[in-house]
């Protein structure tokens, strides 16, 4: 991207451009002079048969013709020399500049004035035409640039195409830079920054001649920079959207796969477990080791079923494919239900439940809240020393019902309390083979969030963990509103 040309050549190129303009003008003067010679000759030749006004028209015609092609200097030169020739050759006395007749003075002045006026008007028309052509060219160039840049797929391609366009517009020395950084200072160059909302993206450097050539005071340069900035922004947005789309697709595929696999694994597992339990309860005589093996089959398939169920729930909840089946539920009812189901494993634990009977009911999906409670209690069982107590507290807040499950285990370090909710994340203390999968709390959080609630983990001053979740409360306990006692219809 650096400028390979030596500075000397740059100067000659400028001179060349200036020379081209100057030589065109010189030719114009020659043409002007030549026209005057022709018009004067014609006028002189027709003089015996014509009046002064006719000869004046012939001279005027020459000046007007020249003014349609050349600039103000050539036109003025032609008009003035034409007027002088008219005076010298046509106004009596012929072959003299003197004008004794005042009417002829008027004719001469009139002719000069009209010629100059026409030249001036023609000049305006020419300039407007040039401006219109430049503007059209500029529009076309910008359209072409935008169109070209809108089809690029990468920043590299954008750079190559934009650079190509810039060189076409501003000369071979135009250069594009799409990295942040200061452009080199050079008096022969004009620099245009490429910015997006004040945020610099790069710059364009073109020679001052390149800008001058366009004759638009740098408008095209500024507009080109804008188009490049737009294209860059579009490219970045497209990239981000594509990346997000790919990430969503990957996540969806993963969830679909996990869901399908875990569903398909459950079916054979169910047969294994029922078959194992059949053998275990059959009347056939079993020795102790056989019994133990059969029990292992049943217990392990139960455990595996639990893991698969968790995996299935986590993926379903995360993909948002779960429709809540909400009903007004009493939380204590659900808590006691879970406790009685886990009673076997909780037999060596002291479980202290403190949930007031007048706790407002909550509108929840009972199956999901049940799973939430099971997961929290299983965590408490798994990560705390056997025999240590577990407390479950429930209380009402202004617009929520809160439940806390507290244990006396080693606790979760403050730094990990947010991360343990992530899928497959396992706490430092949980790394050993404890049968956990790192999904329990993920499900808990997904369940609570599906109910527009909150779940957080706190430490306890005496050691241990306190998991607190709140669910938006529904109507107050409607005992008073219940229909009065009725005769049974059953």
């Amino acid at each position: 991207m650096s400028n390979a040309r030596p500075p000397g050549e740059r100067v000659t190129s400028r001179l060349r451009a200036a020379k081209a303009g100057a030589s065109a003008e010189r030719v114009g003067f020659v043409w002007g002079a030549l026209t005057n010679v022709v018009t004067t000759t014609i006028a002189f030749w027709v003089a015996p048969h014509a009046q002064l006004a006719h000869m004046m028209i012939i001279h005027l015609l020459g000046a007007v013709l020249i003014s349609t092609r050349y600039g103000m200097a050539v036109s003025t030169f032609t008009a003035v020399t034409g007027a002088l020739a008219f005076d010298y050759f046509c106004i009596p006395p012929v072959f003299a500049f003197a004008m004794p007749d005042p009417r002829n003075v008027l004719s001469f002045a009139g002719m000069l004035l009209v010629a100059l006026l026409v030249c001036w008007l023609n000049q305006g028309v020419r300039q407007q035409r040039a401006a219109a052509r430049a503007s059209e060219e500029r529009t076309q160039a910008l359209c072409q640039l935008s169109l070209d840049l809108s089809q690029v797929a990468s920043a590299e391609e954008l750079f190559v195409r934009a650079q190509c366009h810039l060189r076409e517009l501003f000369g071979d020395q135009a250069e594009l830079c799409l990295t942040k950084g200061e452009p080199p200072i050079d008096p022969d160059f004009t620099t245009q920054a490429i910015v997006d909302h004040g945020h610099p993206l790069g710059y364009i450097r073109v020679t001052k001649d390149g800008v001058a050539k366009r004759g638009d005071r740098g408008l095209l340069l500024v507009a080109s920079a804008d188009r490049i900035a737009d294209a860059l922004k579009l490219l970045q947005l497209g990239d981000a959207a594509r990346r997000a789309e790919v990430a969503t697709e990957v996540e969806r595929n993963r969830n679909a796969l996990l869901s399908a696999v875990s569903h398909d694994m459950k079916t054979p597992l169910a047969s294994i477990m029922t078959a194992g339990s059949s053998l275990l309860s059959s009347t056939w005589q079993k020795d102790a080791p056989t019994r133990e093996l059969l029990e292992t089959i049943v217990q392990e398939s139960e455990r595996m079923n639990g893991l698969i169920t968790n995996l299935l729930s986590a993926t379903r909840l995360e993909s948002g494919g779960v429709v809540l089946n909400k009903e007004l539920e009493a939380l204590d009812d659900l808590v006691f239900g879970v406790l009685s189901r886990l009673s076997g494993r909780l037999s060596d634990r002291e479980v202290d439940v403190d949930i007031p009977a007048d706790l407002p009911m909550v509108s929840v999906d009972a199956v999901l809240i049940d799973q939430l409670l099971v997961n929290l209690l299983e965590n408490a069982l798994r990560y705390t020393p056997s025999g240590s107590a577990i407390e479950i507290r429930g209380f009402a807040e202004t617009d929520a019902v809160t439940v806390e499950v507290c244990d006396h285990g080693p606790g979760i370090p403050a730094a990990e309390r947010g991360r343990v909710f992530e899928k497959f994340y396992r706490g430092q203390a949980a790394k050993h083979n404890d049968g956990g999968t790192g999904l329990g709390l993920t499900i808990c959080r997904a369940v609570v969030q599906a109910h527009d609630g909150k779940i957080v983990i706190h430490g306890r001053s005496g050691g241990g963990t306190k998991v607190r979740f709140s669910l938006p409360s529904g109507a107050p306990a409607p005992l008073a509103a219940a229909p009065s006692e009725r005769r049974p219809t059953a």
Partner: protein
């Protein structure tokens, strides 16, 4: 007479396991792997009970349920997977008697089946016949309830609630069913009444209301009055 049980289940290994479990108990086992097979079997002869998987290759088990209920009150136990609670409730409200969730232990399956067969008999019994379920003795005529021989005073609503569950002891009874039977058809959405009265009933009947042994909650489905042999 040896009861014939129709097992409608598309998974051959599961069917084999159920066949062996039921055969071991002396039941006759009929099998069907598809909805079509099941309906043609029922058209020929109605069994004493049906075990019905909800997911069949050629249709839903619910359709089989409807066909059966059009002609017979034979007890039907649904076999379903976890996460299909909605379908379970739908099946129970469409006339299924109970359900087991895969994976289940053999003992659980047999208990559900026995409860279904028994409560089918209970429904056939006169309404005012005395019922005994574990420590409970219910006298519908006097509307009195005895717990381990001692009378427990119940309000009329509490009594109705207990009576509906007792007539289907050992089986899950959906919220909808309880509300319809006790409060009437226009209250089937008002589960909060059920929660309140269930709590009162537990306070009067359970030794420890915080650890219910008789009135068991089945989350998202309903309640079950535990029968001693279930």
């Amino acid at each position: 007479m040896i009861p014939a049980i129709l097992v409608i289940e598309d998974e051959l290994p599961m069917r084999r396991v159920i066949r062996s479990a039921l055969g071991g108990q002396g039941y006759h086992v009929w099998e069907a792997g598809t909805k079509r097979d099941a309906i043609s079997t029922i058209n020929k002869s109605v069994p004493q009970a049906i075990l019905l998987d909800l997911g069949l290759p050629d249709g839903s088990g619910l359709e089989v349920l409807k066909v059966v209920r059009e002609r017979s009150e034979v007890p039907i136990v649904i076999i379903s997977a976890r996460g299909e609670e909605r379908d379970q409730v739908l099946a129970l409200d469409s006339g299924a008697n109970d359900y087991v969730t895969k994976p289940f232990r053999e003992a659980e399956l047999l208990a559900r089946l026995r409860a279904a067969l028994r409560s089918a008999a209970a429904y056939a019994a006169p309404l005012d016949e005395r019922m005994e379920i574990g420590p409970l003795r219910i006298h519908p005529h006097e509307r009195s309830v005895y717990l381990s021989g001692k009378e427990v005073p119940l309000t009329p609503t509490e009594f109705s609630l207990l009576q509906v569950m007792a007539r289907q002891a050992g089986r899950v009874v959906t919220h909808r069913h309880l509300l319809r039977e006790v409060w009437g058809g226009s209250y089937v959405q008002d589960t909060q009444y059920l929660r309140v009265y269930m709590r009162q009933l537990r306070r009067k009947l359970e030794q420890d209301p915080n650890s219910p042994q008789l009135l068991i909650t089945t989350p998202g489905v309903g309640y079950r009055l535990r029968a001693p042999d279930a």
